[in-house]
């Protein structure tokens, strides 16, 4: 091999190495971590800042987390007030990384806010409207919203890494096809329940988007944040409603203390229908978005049938 060929091989080799450096992404949501990994594939390295099992309503980034976020080129944020620390975080990390706010591409549901017994030391930065309602930040419980966010992440990655366009487009298309299949499977699962049985009693008001898509009425113990504490009058009213409506099961959440729910089951005769993943992904079979949605739909239907 002559020297020209060797030089060309070296240049190509370094070029290959340069393009093989993954795009650094930091994620403040377990759902967004999963979507970014599906869209980005080997071209991205996603660092999960909020991990499975952490309550994102009360999460605070540590100095170590801030450093990791500063080193990222893209930061994935749920938005709609879910990350109460976002403004502080953005000013800490400066203009380095680009922030992608997923809530910007979904149509928010407006929910009643229950501030009874609310701990104002906790984060509580939900966007209030004039009528006292707040945007429900749990948008991922509607598969359609996740489809929109998939396209948003695809476009953000293409902007940061134009050479990967064909990969990002192909990966996003494949993931969207799986999401459509997921949406159909969830519809088929829920169709086993008569409309009259579609009453969802949960720890906190996190399943509004799921309820809207599938015709459920949600009766939450807490408000849209896990730091909203219910008054004893609200719990008494809820017990009365559960009795009147003949609700068969109520549901706990993976990161909640189910003590209040246990008390309600004792007084109403409704059973604990199982654990739902409301604020993000779990581990094992619920460690992916698709697994989490299938688990939630299956648990709800099995509990209420």
């Amino acid at each position: 091999m002559n020297w020209k060929l060797m030089t060309a091989a070296l240049v190509l080799g370094f070029g290959g190495l340069a393009s093989a450096v993954p795009v650094e992404v930091a994620s403040l949501s377990t759902v967004l971590t999963d979507v970014a990994q599906n869209v980005g594939g080997d071209r991205v390295r996603v660092t999960p800042i909020v991990k499975a099992g952490i309550d994102p309503h009360v999460f605070e980034p540590t100095p170590g987390d801030v450093k990791k976020i500063s080193n990222a080129r893209l930061v994935l944020v749920s938005g709609l007030g879910f990350e109460g620390y976002l403004q502080k975080l953005q000013s800490s990390v400066g203009s380095g990384p680009r922030f992608l706010i997923a809530g910007d591409v979904v149509k928010p549901l407006m929910a009643e806010e229950t501030c009874e017994g609310h701990d104002h030391d906790h984060h509580h930065h939900h966007a209030h409207s004039a009528d006292g309602k707040v945007a429900d930040p749990h948008w991922w419980h509607s598969v359609k919203n996740v489809e929109a966010v998939t396209r948003q992440i695809r476009d953000a990655l293409i902007a940061l890494d134009p050479e990967g366009r064909s990969t990002y487009e192909a990966n996003a298309k494949a993931f969207e096809a799986r999401l459509k299949e997921l949406a159909r499977d969830v519809r088929l699962e829920v169709a086993r329940l008569p409309k009259s049985s579609r009453v969802l009693v949960t720890s906190h008001d996190a399943l509004g988007y799921f309820a809207k898509d599938h015709g459920f009425e949600v009766l939450p113990v807490q408000g849209i944040s896990t730091s909203d504490q219910p008054s004893s009058q609200k719990v008494r009213d809820l017990i009365q409603t559960i009795r009147e409506r003949g609700v068969k099961a109520i549901f706990a959440e993976n990161i909640e203390n189910p003590r209040v729910l246990e008390q309600i089951t004792k007084e109403t005769g409704a059973k604990l229908g199982g654990v739902l993943y409301a604020d993000g992904l779990g581990t094992g079979e619920t460690g992916t978005y698709e697994g989490m949605m299938r688990h939630n739909a299956g648990t709800i239907v099995a509990g209420l049938q």
């Binding site: 159909r184 519809r187 088929l188 829920v190 169709a191 086993r192 329940l193 008569p194 409309k195 009259s196 599938h214 015709g215």
Partner: protein, 137 residues
């Protein structure tokens, strides 16, 4: 045979139709088997007609949480059934179909009450279809 040629043709065609009728009636697809769902007519429920049409013959099953409303046993392009539906909160319908013909196929579902169409949806699929039709509250 003597006579006017057009008259001869008409007579032969009539003869073929008369001879062919028993063969057609024996070999035509059986009408769809419709489960006999008891039709409740209390204040909460309304009696409606479910009408299904497909682009080419298909095996069709339509069910609600109470069970099957319509189920064909041979491929058909058209079937109907009557059932009782909750008027204030109609249940979802699970629609399944299987076509032998290839390519994209369509299935139209209509819910009719006293000549008023309450729902009219067309679903498309290739080979097999399984999906849900929901009523908006």
């Amino acid at each position: 045979m003597r006579g006017f040629p057009l008259l001869r043709f008409v007579l032969v065609a009539l003869g073929l139709c008369v001879a062919g009728f028993p063969v057609w009636s024996l070999t035509r697809p059986a009408p769809p088997a419709v489960p006999q769902t008891p039709v409740r007519t209390d204040a909460e429920h309304r009696e409606v007609e479910l009408v299904v049409n497909t682009s080419t013959p298909a095996l069709v099953r339509i069910s609600s949480p109470d069970g099957a409303i319509l189920e064909t046993v041979t491929p058909t392009s058209s079937a109907s059934a009557r059932f009782a539906q909750n008027a204030s909160a109609p249940d979802d319908l699970v629609v399944s179909a299987r076509w032998e013909a290839g390519g994209e196929q369509a299935l139209r579902v209509r819910i009719i009450q006293n000549e008023e169409t309450l729902l009219d949806r067309t679903l498309w699929a290739e080979g097999e279809l399984e999906d849900v039709i929901g009523f908006q509250p």
